[in-house]
């Protein structure tokens, strides 16, 4: 577990270091950190603190549909009102945030795994492997990640429609979107890691390791990779915000996660249908949640970029 070790070492070092002090020094960052921690805690405690399980059709009652929030003529049983299927908005927002966070984390981890492996291999071996992988990254970076993910999602839909994959798209929506986002975001990790490898590759400690017969994989993972972890972590934090936004956008467009188990984006889309009739609450409360979450994670990312790596700008 070189990755876990490297991260553990980084975290232990971080608490003793300037990084922690630079965190304490900025009020905005502390607030962003607290808000992020609260949202994480609340969404992962969703089954305990939610009033119902909005993803379980048996717990929904259509006669509860379209109730306004409690301060706008609603009732305490549904503090933030209900949507058109009778889902309690407060519970659905908790579950939806959890789903958005899971998808965000999973896709960032996937993009990291692909990007780090490609970056290590390209930088260490060079030559044709390097040329092919980096040209592939160039080609992909020509297109916005959002468009790449949207296209990949469309490909899977096409395969389902043509019965190449014999399953209901709703059953595989979460893995499909995680893979689409993961494949859309790998190039930036690959480029960064490759850059670090190119610098470290010719240093004495790597040569020494090579001479005593350490295998290339071990050199890449144990000796070189730890040097690349702080820029990778910075990219990953900012990437998490982008991944959450992209998932929400795809779900809002109706091509991401299904409305039956709504994420924040899908929930906003449900609300969008009722916007013009003045029933604003289905859109507004998940919208605020999404905005606050993304803003907080972005602020943490900005701080991390300045604190961990002043050169990376």
């Amino acid at each position: 577990m070189p990755l876990a070790n490297a991260m553990g070492r980084l975290l232990r070092g971080a608490i003793r270091s300037d990084v922690y002090h630079s965190f304490r020094a900025s009020k905005t960052t502390v607030i962003a950190g607290i808000v992020t921690a609260l949202i994480f805690a609340a969404s992962f405690a969703a089954p305990l603190i939610a009033l119902q399980n909005p993803y379980d059709p048996a717990s929904l009652n259509l006669s509860d549909a379209m109730k306004p929030p409690v301060f706008f003529g609603g009732e305490w049983a549904f503090p933030l009102g209900t949507d058109d299927q009778g889902r309690d908005m407060y519970s659905t927002i908790l579950y939806g945030t959890r789903l958005s966070l899971i998808v965000g984390f999973a896709s960032v981890l996937l993009a990291m795994a692909i990007g780090i492996s490609f970056g290590l291999v390209a930088g260490y071996f060079g030559g044709a492997v390097d040329a092919v992988l980096m040209r592939a990254a160039d080609v992909q970076l020509t297109f916005p990640a959002f468009l790449v993910a949207l296209t990949l999602d469309g490909v899977v839909r096409g395969m389902v429609a043509a019965k190449i994959l014999d399953i209901d798209h709703n059953d595989i929506a979460v893995p499909v979107i995680v893979i689409s986002l993961g494949l859309a975001f790998w190039p930036q990790y690959a480029r960064t890691v490759r850059g670090v490898v190119l610098i470290e590759r010719s240093k004495d400690y790597v040569n020494a390791a090579r001479i005593i017969g350490v295998s290339p994989w071990r050199i890449m993972l144990r000796h070189i990779l730890p040097n690349a972890m702080s820029p990778v972590l910075v990219i990953a934090t900012i990437n998490l915000a982008v991944a959450i936004i992209t998932e929400a956008t795809l779900s809002f467009l109706g091509v991401g996660l299904p409305k039956t188990e709504p994420s924040l984006g899908a929930l906003i889309q449900i609300g969008n249908d009722y916007l013009s009739s003045g029933d604003l609450w289905i859109t507004v409360s998940p919208g605020i949640m999404l905005a606050v979450l993304v803003l907080a994670v972005n602020l943490l990312g900005d701080w991390m970029r300045d604190a961990l790596n002043p050169k990376l700008r």
Binding site: T151, D153, G154, G158, M159, V160, A161, G254, V294
Partner: protein
């Protein structure tokens, strides 16, 4: 110069070849073209015969060459969803997207540059701080959420307003003011057909309809441009030639706009140029939010209906656009920045 151009063209060719390959795979392996052409009760023999006639059993290289040949002539076949020719569907919707993108880009540049100049010249003023905070929000918020906020403010609230907004019994905004601010948030308004190009610029309702979508689409670019101009201005104002100009007693307006701003414009134009691709891509979202009948909306409809020919055509088209824009930006950069040419002349590669 020739070598530089050649390398860029080669890169562009690789991108286009990849895009063509992806489109080809979409076209041929995701979904069966035969299914779109025949009925349920066509026998397997008839299907096989049709396959043979259409050349679907040929060697893959031959089929790819044929696909590229057709694509170059703009022939992407028929949509699975509407059975219309794909090229016609795209061409009909293209003016809407281009007009929207143009207005969005103009908005981003014409508002973003002055904001950046102001907050770069006077970074400590309260207004500059407000601009910085707003730009952080503009960069963080997803495009579709910005669109919804604008729809809420300028379309929903004016129409559902009964009592106005009052804080502590004092009416802050009343319904007539809201009604005066109201803007359309659905579709293009009335359009005029100029020989195949349907424009919304010539009617009052068309011009009004473009405001909200263009602001939504341009806001991200606006914040980006503002931040770049601000950073560049802060940088340039510290340089010696600005100090020297001050010492010579040149009026500060001339220094700010003649000397400083001029030197910040190269990165701004580069970034703006590269953003055109982003604008077209984000038009997908904006068009869906505002029911704007452009190619982006068509693409989303095609993705959810698994309409492969339209997806393939859109991707090829967008790929070509990105390659051309990147090439133009590179050439512009090369023409404007003498340092690049000097580096070439000295035999260094860029």
């Amino acid at each position: 110069m020739i070598a530089f151009l050649f390398r860029r063209l080669f890169q562009g060719a690789i991108v286009m070849l990849t895009v063509a390959l992806v489109s080809f795979v979409l076209f041929n392996y995701v979904g069966d073209p035969i299914n779109g052409m025949v009925g349920q009760d066509t026998s397997l023999q008839d299907r096989e015969k049709l396959r043979e006639q259409l050349g679907l059993n040929d060697f893959i290289g031959v089929r790819f060459a044929r696909f590229v040949g057709n694509a170059v002539q703009g022939n992407f076949g028929l949509s699975y969803r509407t059975a219309e020719p794909v090229l016609r569907m795209i061409m009909e919707r293209l003016p809407a997207t281009l007009e929207l993108s143009l207005v969005a880009a103009l908005f981003a540049v014409l508002v973003g540059v002055p904001m950046g100049v102001y907050s770069g010249l006077y970074p400590k003023r309260a207004l500059s701080r407000v601009m910085q905070a707003v730009s952080l929000i503009g960069i963080s918020l997803p495009t579709f959420l910005i669109g919804i906020i604008l729809i809420l403010t300028f379309a929903v609230l004016p129409n559902t307003c009964r009592s106005g907004l009052s804080i502590g019994g004092v009416v802050v905004i009343d319904c007539s003011l809201l009604a005066w601010l109201a803007l359309p948030a659905f579709g293009r308004g009335d359009v005029v057909d100029l020989g195949g190009w349907r424009t919304g610029f010539l009617t009052a309702s068309g011009l009004k309809a473009v405001i909200l979508p263009a602001v939504t689409l341009g806001l991200f670019q606006l914040t980006l441009i503002m931040r770049i101009v601000r950073a560049e201005m802060l940088e340039v104002m510290r340089t010696d030639y600005i100090k020297f100009a001050r010492a010579r007693g040149i009026r500060s307006r001339n220094i700010n706009f003649g000397h400083a701003l001029k030197n910040t414009l190269v990165p701004v134009i580069t970034i703006t140029g590269l953003q055109v691709g982003q604008i077209i891509a984000f038009a997908i979202i904006t068009e869906t939010v505002f029911s704007w009948p452009g190619v982006g909306q068509l693409f989303v409809q095609s993705v959810s209906a698994a309409d492969m020919p339209v997806m393939a055509a859109y991707l090829s088209f967008i790929g070509l656009l990105f390659v051309v824009i990147n090439l133009l930006v590179d050439l512009f950069y090369y023409g404007v920045d003498p340092r690049l040419r000097a580096a070439q002349a000295a035999g260094k590669t860029v």
